[in-house]
């Protein structure tokens, strides 16, 4: 029977994009030198933007709180550098729109040390205090969605979490941030996992890693002390293995029904980066002020895995990697499947930005679109069992309201359908367009 359980470790549907990780998979994480200008947008996470508590001209220390949470689904924000606040104003964000942000000028003579004595003794905290500390520390899901971590950790009464699942799948092509974190900082990962596991009262920690990272699996296994309630589960290489619900299906064989959350099947899922950030805050006193970013793609001269202070303009990061190669056409923040192209190099690195990928004409040229031939490949690819071709057709005819009946809001925009489509129909973009229209039209009633 045990051998058969191995066969079950899979989810249905999904696609197999080429993973392209060899560019950066073996490059150790290095630190980017501090630059001059930093821009910290107040809305770096899903939910309510933070509220600035500093004013122009004020001196700030690296790691100092500069914005406090604006509500429950909101987190704190800390200065990524020691320096002076230049302005609290509107700056261009990843989505191309201008949004409130705190601009900070770095002090070139500062040591940029984080005060390690600020670490909080997590064992003495009650669960409520712990969750509040995570919120103030500004920790969000580091996999890309940037959902505030404390909201995930707040489990309502009556629901028991039995498994803490740590997401090390990193199924997006090109990205190697979680991979390098698992290889280089397995102690921090296991420390953070233990903190979260104890606070949640979970029975065991499960670390899910795709099988294309055998070194990470081995290193973590070597660091687990015998008797620790931790196990590493190698997963099939398939996209989107790192989607919460897919991973639960693969690891535990349980399905999370539409509209419900992982906690309804007694699981709490967190990204590797999030867990390391929690360990860094509670053991080393460093709130979320920097993150690991993979800079890769055919348009980058020297691909790298970098520790980048938040708020660093993409321009500085790209410059550090030797600049753009001639013929570079498109820069994507995040992974190639779900990331967003950016229109300006002045956009800052945010909490949820796992990669900066540069592509050339060859990869990004828009392929000719053909009519839908009803082949059904998108239906076979959709891990949420939606009907992407129908959704795309409705969106093209602007029948957005009808799309609700086809569960358009269950779509997580993973991009499998567009990847699978032989007619090159931009299905995900059409679905996003419809969601945007539906969301905006709802506003006046609310």
């Amino acid at each position: 029977m045990k051998a058969l359980r191995f066969l079950r470790r899979n989810f249905e549907h999904g696609v197999h994009p080429a993973h392209h990780k060899q560019q950066t998979a073996d490059l150790p994480i290095q630190r980017v030198p501090f630059g001059k200008h930093y821009v910290m947008p107040l809305g770096q996470h899903i939910g309510v933007p933070a509220k600035a508590i500093v004013a122009a001209g004020e001196r700030v220390q690296r790691g100092q709180l500069i914005a406090k949470p604006g509500g429950f689904v909101s987190t704190g924000l800390h200065s990524p550098v020691t320096g002076t606040v230049r302005e609290v104003g509107d700056y261009r964000g990843v989505d191309g729109r201008f949004a409130p942000a705190i601009a900070i000028e770095a002090d070139p003579f500062a040591t940029q040390q984080v005060d390690a004595s600020a670490a909080v003794d997590w064992q003495s905290l009650t669960l409520e205090e712990f969750i509040e500390a995570v919120q103030i520390a500004g920790i969000v899901g580091m996999g890309g969605a940037a959902f505030p971590a404390h909201v995930k950790l707040s489990v309502p009464d009556g629901i028991r979490i039995r498994h803490l699942l740590i997401n090390g799948a990193e199924c997006e092509p090109y990205l190697t941030t979680d991979h390098r974190l698992m290889v280089e900082r397995p102690e921090a990962l296991l420390e953070g996992a233990e903190i979260v596991r104890q606070k949640l009262g979970a029975e065991e920690t499960v670390i899910g890693v795709e099988m294309n990272k055998p070194d990470a699996i081995e290193i973590i296994r070597n660091h687990i002390r015998p008797g620790d309630p931790v196990r590493v589960v190698p997963l099939k290489v398939k996209y989107p293995q790192g989607a919460e619900k897919m991973m639960i299906k693969s690891v535990f064989g349980k399905e999370v029904p539409a509209g419900l959350l992982p906690r309804d099947v007694e699981v709490n899922v967190n990204n590797v980066g999030t867990i390391v950030a929690i360990a860094d805050y509670f053991l080393r006193g460093m709130p979320l002020i920097e993150r690991v970013v993979t800079v890769a793609g055919p348009g980058v001269s020297y691909p790298a895995n970098l520790i980048v202070p938040l708020g660093t303009p993409v321009r500085d990061v790209v410059k550090f990697c030797g600049g753009l190669k001639p013929g570079s056409r498109e820069i994507i923040m995040g992974g190639p499947m779900m990331g967003r192209p950016i229109a300006s190099l002045d956009v800052p690195i945010l909490k949820g930005c796992s990669g900066v990928l540069v592509f050339t004409e060859e990869q990004t040229a828009r392929r000719k679109e053909y009519p839908c031939i009803s082949c059904g490949r998108c239906l076979e690819a959709c891990p949420y069992f939606l009907n992407p071709s129908r959704l795309a057709r409705l969106s093209k005819s602007r029948m957005f309201d009808e799309m609700r009946a086809y569960h358009v809001f269950d779509c997580v925009e993973c991009g499998c359908c567009t990847f699978a489509c032989p007619s090159n129909i931009p299905i995900v973009q059409l679905i996003r367009t419809a969601k945007d229209d539906l969301a905006r039209r709802k506003e006046p009633d609310a």
Binding site: G96, D437, R440
Partner: protein, 280 residues
């Protein structure tokens, strides 16, 4: 033979029975509908556009007959049709002011800075969700013709500069283009309010003009040149308050270097067209 006749006999019996019930119901449960409602409805344009604020033409006709609304509130009908309805119902036409859709943006391809090139699906809303479509100004017209597709009256056409040209003759002031624009740039303005601000950028000074050659840089000259209280600066944009009582005059636009405040005799963007014709 006998059994063969039973079934038809039963069917005829049931038919007669229900027929009798229907005849009785027709007599005693009859609802009298005002014949004027249907007649009025036939005079309305039948587009169900919703510009009058009612869900469609039939509900509007019902309200007309009940005397709750004026025929003139249908902005889509022609003047003759309104007159006919008013005559038929023997009420005052109460012609509403003619409204037209005006675009709060003047920055076409020739004026607005493009910081990136958008390659995806052609549509304003689709472009807007991808880094704002690559246009430097995050508030201006994207020029991908969502409004042109939404217009039921064929009143909107994209001009050579990539801006939607509204035909004031054809425009019936239904709110379709207002709803279609992802950046909420269309507004319905009375045709006789000729002073109009055609810019939507909340930035001031060089920050604005860096993004678009014809952006309002919030210099405030129009405020100084207009009747006191007519124009006020709100959020770095001039706002014209026609209710203030001050007379709107073309002089307010004379010193505007970027033509973000204009005096519109008819359509927008006419001077762009003529300037191009002059140079060509």
């Amino acid at each position: 033979m006998n059994s063969l006749l039973v079934a038809p006999a039963i069917m005829v019996g049931i038919g007669l029975f229900f027929g009798a019930i229907l005849a009785i119901a027709q007599r005693f449960l009859k609802v009298d509908e005002d014949p004027r409602i249907e007649a009025t409805n036939n005079l309305l344009p039948g587009t169900n556009c919703g510009a009058c604020g009612q869900p469609g033409c039939l509900p509007f006709a019902e309200k007309l007959v009940a005397g709750e609304v004026d025929p003139g509130q249908c902005t889509v009908s022609t003047d003759e049709a309104i007159e006919q309805i008013a005559e038929y119902l023997e009420v005052d036409a109460g012609r509403a002011e003619k409204l037209v859709a005006r675009l709060r943006c003047n920055g076409g391809h020739l004026q607005a800075h493009q910081i990136a090139e958008y390659q995806g699906f052609e549509g304003c809303r689709a472009a807007d969700i991808v880094s704002g479509g690559g246009k430097g100004c995050a508030w201006g017209c994207l020029g991908l013709a969502d409004c042109e597709a939404a217009c039921t009256f064929d009143a909107i056409h994209m001009n050579a500069n990539g801006l939607p040209q509204v035909d004031t003759e054809k425009c019936r002031a239904c709110p379709d283009c207002v709803a279609a624009c992802p950046r909420d740039l269309f507004e319905l303005v009375p045709l006789n309010q000729k002073l109009y601000v055609q810019c939507n950028i909340p930035l001031a000074g060089e920050a604005a003009t860096r993004l678009c050659k014809v952006a309002c840089d919030a210099c405030g000259k129009c405020v100084a040149d207009a009747a006191p209280g007519l124009i006020t600066m709100q959020g770095n944009l001039p706002v014209i308050n026609y209710a203030s009582g001050g007379e709107a005059r073309p002089e307010a636009t004379f010193r505007c270097a970027t033509r973000s405040i204009v005096w519109l005799e008819r359509e927008q963007f006419q001077e762009q067209e003529s300037r191009k014709a002059g140079t060509a």
